[in-house]
């Protein structure tokens, strides 16, 4: 006897199915089922995973979906063949697109056309009408069955007889099926919990919304045999035999319209590449480059990826035509072809990246090119793609959001009826992205007793729920584009954002079926660089592009080596700045390394210090073998990039390229799913065989583990480094325009406008205050005598000021500058709020004098509107108002602009601080290594990196600059209050100064915030 389960939900029926597809397939196989259908509710989101599970356990998968028609019956639709699959995708798409995200509306009308290849099991209910029964028989004819569910209900015998009678009277066959929600009965508690979560109630309140028992699992054949007549079980096998469709039958086709009449994709790609070559190398192409391009085109053609490159080229071309700055990166992006096509600016002749590494015949997986666009203008690009290919052919990929520990424990605790404060406390016990139930230690610290029954239940269920899919969200920019309507491949549904549609598959599912994905991402630095180019064109007469920025500029590298990098791309963080003086980059490739080295992967893999020692010739550079020298030479024998790890596996342990790629995937996923252990043995055995030592093999494996999901590929680092270099060059040679552009692109990056402006002033740039007679919305440049123009602060810096008001001021001023407050009021049509903001920010000083005066005047003028509008203002005797003091101005500056051009707050406090024997950051530079000193500064940053065990890095700012303070864990715990609560912090500690690396090791912390009363000094808190 055997049986095929035809009605089974996986956990992709969110908050309903309580088992994963793999669990279901393993159980079905073990019970001797002959096939298993996965029929998630109006969704195929989990079907790729089900397909992979089916292949893994070698049990046939039947694809289907459970749907409830609006005002109609509930059905299980099963796919018989390819056409049936396409009908199902279409139906789901129609039903999903009609409803808001996460819901669906399926109508009888949607079945108007005949759908051969799609079978239907009718899940009869008491309220099904005669009309809908008639409709079912007409629509599905011989493809209709009556589903018989027997779940040990009140009177199964009678229920069965009723169903058999019904089937007989309608002359349709009946079939046994299980309405399966979980693979084993043991998931009953989880299934109940999910039901409660779905209904936003506690389990105790869920009542009859819970299933009365745990029968909805994959029951043993014996148990089924005892319940069902043999004929009903046999019918399930007959249906299963009819369903022969397999996902591997899907064929994806690249869009073709990019190829003009008379060309094939191959000839057209060659044509546009050659066109690009002529532009890139106007004076002729070197033979080596030309050969490289031929080679690449050959490889692309062999693999059939021409359309992919043409698609990316088309998108990039559109962005260029709109002056949207963009840059490609990732596997395949750093090829000579991509350079010729303008997708990247990495000149392949300048680097030694190998194209094969990203595109190989053996691996046969789609190439992957991410393109970054200006963050404020990416939407234009997205909408271009939707328009160009149409919504039926282009959609974003989905991201399956899964339960992390905090979310899982939150939902479970809520379902078990715990009060909100305890739910929050439990969630706080989980690491931010942790995928493990909260550790018992943490729970005890937070005052929970993990052994109470309730907490035990919470933890057990949390552990089960972690990793379960929770909902579909949209990928930040991964596009799928197809020649034929997408819903012939996969259902499409609405995203949470209007004007967006997503397919039901996660980005990881695409590879399995060979779908093409183009990543259209957003990058703030590109906005800043484009703005900077615009400013240079307007004010400096310089016409620069990413490609034309002078290369290998020594002044730029000198600046970088001094860690003078506030505001630039990637190497501006504290950790990066600490590394720069040690690494001292001199050529472009040094920047590629710098970008990649200060990451959790290399740090946890213990690769940073060996690399630095070798670079500074403190230890000899050696290689484990001559073969590995070619792999590791450019990083002095230390593997720093993901690609190198793969190559080591290939060279030293005889991995094939495909296997090495498998290793890369395992590296990315081992923390969550494990799966690295097989590689450990494989690597060791392979390396021992090739004559490497056991120690080396172990070391390589540890490095691989350290890389984890943080490993940084060289291909990405190279593209990032290009932007790093560009931004550094701009900061070095056009600091005023660069600072302006950064602030105008804010929020982005690591630093606030205040910090960027302070940095600018330390570099002797003139910064001018906001002034309604001169300021635009954006910060702007004003020519002065000197190498660099002055920066005029923009009205955007006034907190709470609206852009439309600023634009009206700009427009009115273009006619004529304002003669007085009344004139401003009249011509710029500002409301009283906007006027008050201008007055408080000091932007009216040219019209009304100091802030107090301005506020008084503004109030007087504006009240005239309304009843007394147009009447001449009565002559007022001059009123005497106190002028603002220096400290009042300072407070007002911080409150309205977040920065001040007057003295730094610490300059005002300096005398007081000197009495407390605090030195300034400038004085510290002269102090020798190892001395005990005291300093005080505004706390502008507190960071506790996951990689530095328990250390907190505090950044202090005073009137001369920034200072790095290291707080060790035990001090942090003893003086937590001062560490967390201070805005102005005094630190007594030991000064460490080795070469360019300087910091203070804290010994005692004192909170001096009281000295700052009333100042709004913002701090970046723990992140």
């Amino acid at each position: 006897m055997s049986y095929a389960e035809l009605h089974c939900l996986s956990n992709f029926s969110f908050q309903r199915g309580a088992s994963s597809a793999l669990e279901l397939f393993e159980r079905a196989k073990a019970q001797g089922y002959s096939a298993l259908a996965i029929t998630d509710e109006c969704s195929l989101a989990g079907i790729v995973r089900a397909w992979q599970a089916a292949k893994a356990v070698e049990l046939p998968l039947i694809i289907g979906s459970e749907v409830r028609l609006e005002n109609g019956p509930k059905l299980v639709l099963l796919v018989q063949d390819l056409s049936g699959y396409q009908y199902l995708c279409r139906l789901i798409t129609v039903a999903r697109r009609r409803a808001e995200k996460g819901r669906y509306r399926l109508l009888q009308d949607d079945f108007d056309q005949p759908m051969p290849g799609l079978l239907a099991l009718w899940v009869a209910a008491d309220d099904d009408t005669q009309a809908s029964i008639k409709w079912l028989r007409e629509t599905f004819a011989e493809r209709l069955w009556l589903a018989v569910h027997l779940h040990c209900g009140q009177d199964d015998a009678r229920h069965l007889q009723q169903r058999l009678n019904l089937a007989a009277s309608l002359q349709i066959p009946a079939v046994a099926c299980g309405d399966v929600h979980m693979h084993v009965r043991g998931r009953r508690a989880l299934q109940d919990t999910m039901t409660a979560i779905r209904h936003h109630v506690s389990v105790a309140e869920a009542g009859t919304r819970l299933h009365p028992n745990g029968e909805r699992h994959l029951r043993s054949l014996d148990a089924l045999g005892a319940l069902y007549p043999q004929a009903l079980l046999d019918e399930s096998l007959a249906i299963a035999r009819r369903c022969t469709f397999d996902l591997s039958q899907l064929r994806y086709h690249y869009p073709r319209e990019l190829v003009p009449e008379g060309h094939t994709a191959k000839t057209w790609l060659r044509a546009v590449t050659e066109e690009g070559m002529a532009r890139r190398w106007p004076h002729g192409v070197e033979a080596k480059t030309s050969m490289q391009i031929d080679h690449e085109l050959g490889l692309i053609s062999d693999l059939g990826y021409e359309s992919y490159f043409l698609t990316v080229h088309d998108i990039v071309r559109f962005a260029r035509s709109r002056s949207i700055l963009c840059q490609g990166r990732g596997s395949a992006a750093n090829s000579a072809v991509c350079f010729a096509l303008g997708i990247t600016e990495i000149d392949p002749s300048l680097t030694n990246l190998l194209f094969e590494r990203f595109l190989s015949k053996e691996r046969n997986e789609p190439p992957d090119i991410d393109v970054d666009f200006e963050h404020e203008r990416r939407e234009e690009v997205l909408q271009y793609v939707f328009q160009r290919y149409g919504r039926h052919r282009a959609a974003l990929t989905a991201v399956v959001s899964t339960y992390h520990a905090a979310g899982a424990v939150r939902d479970v605790a809520k379902a078990l009826g715990l009060p909100p404060d305890q739910i929050n406390a439990l969630a706080d016990c989980c690491g931010r992205w942790s995928d493990d139930a909260p550790p018992l230690e943490r729970l005890r610290e937070a005052g929970f007793d993990p052994h109470t029954p309730i907490l035990h239940r919470v933890l057990t269920l949390t552990q089960q729920l972690i990793g379960f899919p929770r909902h579909l969200s949209q990928h930040p920019g991964g596009f799928v584009i197809s020649e034929y309507p997408l819903d012939t491949l996969v259902p499409v549904e609405n995203a949470a954002m209007a004007e967006r549609t997503i397919i039901q598959w996660d980005k990881d599912d695409l590879d399995a079926v060979g779908l093409l994905k183009v990543d259209i991402l957003a990058l703030g630095m590109l906005s800043a660089i484009r703005r900077c180019f615009d400013l240079l064109r307007q004010h400096r007469g310089r016409n620069l592009t990413l490609a034309s920025i002078p290369k290998d500029d020594p002044a730029t590298y000198t600046m970088i080596s001094k860690a003078d990098t506030i505001g630039v791309f990637q190497i501006e963080s504290r950790a990066q700045m600490a590394m720069l003086p040690r690494l001292r980059p001199k050529v472009f490739y040094d920047l590629v390394i710098e970008v990649a080295i200060v990451r959790p992967g290399p740090i946890q893999g213990g690769m940073v210090h060996p690399y630095l020692r070798r670079r500074n010739h403190e230890e000899p550079t050696t290689y484990p073998s001559p073969e590995l020298k070619t792999v590791l030479q450019r990083t002095l024998g230390i593997p720093l990039f993901q690609e190198q790890v793969m190559q080591i596996a290939m060279v030293a342990a005889d991995y094939s390229p495909g296997e090495a790629d498998q290793l890369r995937r395992s590296m990315a996923a081992w923390k969550r799913h494990g799966g690295l252990e097989p590689h450990r043995e494989r690597l060791r055995d392979g390396m021992l065989k090739n004559g490497y030592t056991e120690a080396f093999a172990a070391q390589i494996f540890e490095q691989i583990k350290g890389f984890g999901s943080y490993g940084f590929p060289e291909s990405h680092a190279a593209s990032f480094a290009l932007l790093t270099y560009a931004s550094c060059w701009l900061k070095c040679h056009e600091p005023a325009a660069f600072a302006c552009a950064l602030i105008n692109s804010w929020p982005m990056g690591f630093y606030s406008p205040d910090q960027i402006l302070q940095d600018a002033r330390r570099h002797r740039l003139q910064v001018r205050p906001v002034d309604v007679q001169a300021s635009d919305w954006d910060c702007s440049l004003e020519p002065i005598d000197g190498a660099q123009p002055a920066i005029r602060m923009g009205l955007r810096l006034i907190s709470g000021f609206r852009e439309e008001d600023a634009r009206r001021i700009e427009a009115a001023r273009r006619q004529q500058i304002f003669s007085d407050i009344a004139d401003l009021d009249r011509r710029a049509a500002l409301d009283s709020r906007a006027q008050a903001l201008l007055a408080d920010a000091g932007a009216l000083r040219a019209l009304a004098g100091n802030r107090h005066r301005a506020r008084w005047e503004v109030a007087g003028v504006h009240k005239q509107l309304g009843l007394f509008a147009g009447l001449p203002s009565p002559d007022e005797d001059a009123v005497v108002l106190p002028a603002p003091t220096v400290s009042e101005d300072l407070h007002a500056d911080y409150a309205t602009l977040g920065t001040t051009l007057g003295p730094h707050p610490l300059a005002l406090l300096r005398a007081e601080l000197r009495q407390r024997r605090c030195r300034s950051s400038r004085e510290l530079m002269a102090v020798e290594h190892g001395r005990n000193v005291s300093v005080a500064g505004l706390v502008t940053g507190r960071q506790r990196p996951g990689t530095a065990s328990g250390v907190t890095f505090v950044t202090l700012e005073d009137e001369f600059g920034n200072l790095n303070v290291v707080v060790w864990r035990d001090l942090a715990e003893r003086q937590r209050l001062a560490l967390v609560g201070s805005r102005l912090l005094k630190v007594d500690g030991r000064w460490e100064a080795v070469g360019e690396v300087r910091h203070l090791i804290a010994g005692r912390l004192t909170d001096l915030s009281a000295l700052l009363d009333g100042m709004d000094v913002r701090s970046r808190d723990f992140r």
């Binding site: 239940r457 007055a839 106190p882």
Partner: protein, 471 residues
Amino acid sequence: MRWVCIVFPQLALDGVQRLHPEPDAPLALLAGTPQRRVLQTVNAAARALGLRPGQSLTAAHALVKTFASAEYDPVQIERWQQFLAAWAYRFSSQVSVYYPRALLFEIESSLGLFGPWPLFEARLRKELTELGFRHRIVAAPNPAAARVLANLYDGLAVADDAALQQALAPLPIDRAGLEPQAATALSRMGLRTLAHVQALPRHTLARRFDVGLLQHLDALSGQRPLALDFYQPPDRFDVRIELNFDVHSHQALLFPLRRLTADLSAFLCGRDSGVQRFDLHLEHAQAADSVIKVGLLSAEREPGMLFELARGRLEQVQVSAPVRGLRLLAEDLPVFVPQRQDLFDERPQQTLPWEQLRERLRARLGDDAVQGLRFHADHRPECAWQAAADPRACQGLNKVQRPGWLLPQPSPLAEQGVHILMGPERIESGWWDGADIRRDYYLVQTRTGQRGWAFRNVGQSDGLWLQGWFA
């Protein structure tokens, strides 16, 4: 000096702390959404540990491992203010709760009764301290000034308008009781004290500010009276009848009882409300009152019914000591919703309406003896029924057939001669509260022909258990 203002700077905290066993332990009141709980106020002990209002609960827990917390409840704060108003009502008939977290009252007329102001003030402080409310007290010629001065001073008594002007002048602008917007605007103009503002020509202010600003300035100086609503003590019914002789029997109490219930009914009619419960005090000469509690399921006011009910309860009580007086106290006075009556009432004269029958039963048998029965949505049979006094209708169970009578405890059922009519119906549920069951249920017929509902525990061989009978 006609007005007193008492400000309660920590009313919310005090309200919680006065009921707290350890008032000096760190305590924070929490507000905010469930996702982001925020500290609303903290007591001194908590402040010393670094807790601050506005901190998120998460941040607070990062600082301090354990501290007591309670909900910041605006309704509760309101209640305490009313409580304090009732307290102050003893001292003045003109008590106002015009300002939140503060009391205003007129004292000119009370000084004769409660002594000169220093004595009076000392008494206020003593009582408030005993009640557990921190306070600041200021007396001034007008209520607005008293309130504003109490922002800064405690114990200040301003005798006349000249002294008032002196006291007000140095007041910082942001503590002067102005609208926040006006206060901000003034301080942004560099005006820091009330004197600065008062020195400006009125018309320049009128041009720049809402009329409220000048009105407030005038109220402070006493040139413009503040329109205050005065506190009214709550409505309640509390009437006693003193008997002229010692009463030992119920019988003799019925007459005064009928009077009282009739008065109550009249009172209820007057204010268009009903009564849901009231207390009957039998006052004894030597002993404490015997209190008889009379409760109703819904608000009523029909005199006959009230009397019948009270009588039913009274007759259950043993009159242990001679009764000297009878007192009826009713505080729960909800709105009365009359029953619709048909023009042609078809009820036979002898039968009681259901409500009256129910009340009579309750009166005779006790409150707990008469219960409603409700369904409760739970698959476990023993949890699917609940006794409840709540008279509202409830949803029925769907479809499944259940016995009309459940045994208090399942009892073993000898299987001999028991005939299974239907089943098994499997019920597995209830893991969340520790009372998980896994049972197969059967409809059985006993030898005597009774239909019962019995189960076997899944996976155990402890036989058949009878849990209920079908009618």
